[in-house]
Symmetry: C2
Subunit: 333 residues, 2 copies
């Protein structure tokens, strides 16, 4: 079982409109709702890959009730017809709070596909609720093959929260992945997680460098045992104890990038628990990520595209010397 | 008791943002929710004027539950501290449906006050639900001093629905006001409501004329016993069996016009049941409307502004001959 933590869960609402006109009245043509938050997206992709997962974090209010109901309906028993029969279960271990789960609204222009995102602030979590979460988390982490800590912190949670959760996972000898940003990332990485997956902006904010290989290695020195940076259409850059690699999709893909990073996390986590070599983990993460951009619904991936892309991902080993990087790349597959 | 009908109720959500940027991620600084839909807004203002009201229409799903809970909390027992103690009750007689009440989202730029509106489609109402509503409506209308039919029709409701509700109110000898647009207005007005309150666009769509006095009189010929057209900042234009009047605020007011028309309806309705002469009804409606534009929250009115504006509204009688209109206006107050 893989445990994913989403402290700032959300009810993700998608509105399709002809075209969003600011400062006017816009009719919404179609409304859809989905359980949201990065760790929940990761668990959804893990389930599609056949990995049992447990989601935890906080949930509350009417929007929280809607989230849990939709999460239960997504399971193998209630899942929509498009899902494969082999999907594994996502188990709800969310911790109830007195606050109300936030909504996020993605307004998608039907003509251009452009998306305007509106994110509500999260509910304030009380110290007693955080304590209840920690107790639950310790029990779940002890049974997990891997732990993923994903996304932003809701109000009320101390900024070192991810560092605390990393330390608890490490004390239980469970591999732990951290995917967050800003100060929670800075503090969390110092607690020595097994893997961090920043995007280019998060990496630059953490290290002060926009040179990906340099920044990725700097992030390792800050405490990340392995660092996998997502570089958008350019794929992934990994710095690990076993070596450094770039992994790139066969072509740039166009579509909705929402959830692409979460799919990459699911690829890395599933590869980790399956003990795949790094190049295979990275190829899977890149193919899943591209197949997510290609899927019509944000945060889902196109299974056919994934199967088609996977063998065509290029993984190139990087020299251990950053300055020689561009001279002698070695083709891995 | 005044009965207000809102067939397409809504949970009105307001988001305050620094400034809405299309095709980007926008953080919402503040979220508020309110029971919405035109008839519910009318009832809220009636309550503030001391008139007991009953709201009916359809409500369903989690958003419907939230709407009812917020409506109950608005009552004299649960109303927020800013409300006057003299407020009358708004009684919930909404009819439950299997569909889910729509949301409307108003995204307010904190810097400019500009509002971008996103309106979800309403739930589909089944024939059985419409039949249940009609039974309830007949009972409520028989006890009402006046009936107001407000807003758009949700999917599933036949386009002659308001005409049907007008006829039922007239059969029960209750004065009935209609405030809607398009084909429902065209059909509804033919059923001879006591009062219709179109805005300039609705009036032009109904009559084909953008000349307000001509269009207002045309709307009377189509079946409206009295027609009060709202002309935005210019105030109201009334054509009634007792005469025609223009009513204008002392100055143009700047602010959020959301709900201004609903406040005008409440002013007209309260004046009707209090048997005020037309000029007083119109002055009240104009002052409430302007005080709604001036209020910080959409669809509420500023009581101090209302008290200040009321004696300063100009009501001018119009000649019965449209072509003489501009020659001999008579100052009423």
């Amino acid at each position: 079982m893989i445990l994913t933590v989403t402290l700032n869960t959300a009810l993700d609402i998608t509105y399709r409109t002809a075209a969003l006109t600011p400062h006017a009245t816009n009719r919404v043509a179609e409304v859809s709702e989905r359980p949201g938050g990065k760790g929940i997206n990761v668990a959804r992709v893990l389930a599609a890959l056949g990995h049992e997962s447990v989601v935890t974090g906080f949930v509350g209010g009417r929007t929280g009730d809607a989230l849990r109901e939709l999460l239960a309906a997504e399971g193998p028993g209630g899942r929509a017809a498009h899902a494969a029969v082999s999907d594994a279960a996502v188990t709800d271990a969310l911790v109830p709070i007195s606050g109300t789960t936030r909504r996020t609204i993605a307004v998608v222009d039907e003509t251009t596909g452009d998306t305007t995102q509106l994110n509500e602030p999260g509910p304030t979590v009380t110290p007693a609720e955080w304590a209840a979460f920690l107790t639950s988390y310790e029990g779940l982490a002890a049974r997990a093959d891997a732990v993923a800590l994903c996304g932003s912190l809701p109000p009320g949670i101390h900024v070192g929260a991810y560092a605390e959760l990393v330390r608890l996972a490490r004390a239980a000898r469970r591999p732990v992945l951290l995917d967050t940003s800003g100060e929670p990332l800075r503090r969390g990485i110092a607690a020595r997680p097994d893997l961090v997956k920043p995007n280019a902006d998060e990496l630059a904010q953490l290290t002060g460098s926009r040179e990906p290989l340099r920044a990725t290695r700097d992030a390792r020195r800050r405490g990340g045992r392995s660092v996998v940076a997502s570089l958008g259409a350019a794929g992934l850059l990994a710095a690990t104890p076993d070596g450094s690699w770039r992994a790139a999709p066969p072509m740039a893909v166009r579509g909705n990038p929402t959830g692409a990073g979460d799919s990459a996390v699911a690829g890395l986590l599933s590869g980790l628990v399956e003990r795949l070599p790094w190049p295979e983990r990275l190829a899977r993460a890149v193919a899943l990520s591209a197949a997510t951009v290609l899927a019509p619904a944000a945060g889902e991936f196109d299974r056919e595209a994934y199967a088609d892309l996977l063998p065509r991902v290029t993984v190139t080993e990087q020299s251990s010397q950053p300055e020689q990087e561009s001279h002698a790349p070695r083709q891995h597959r």
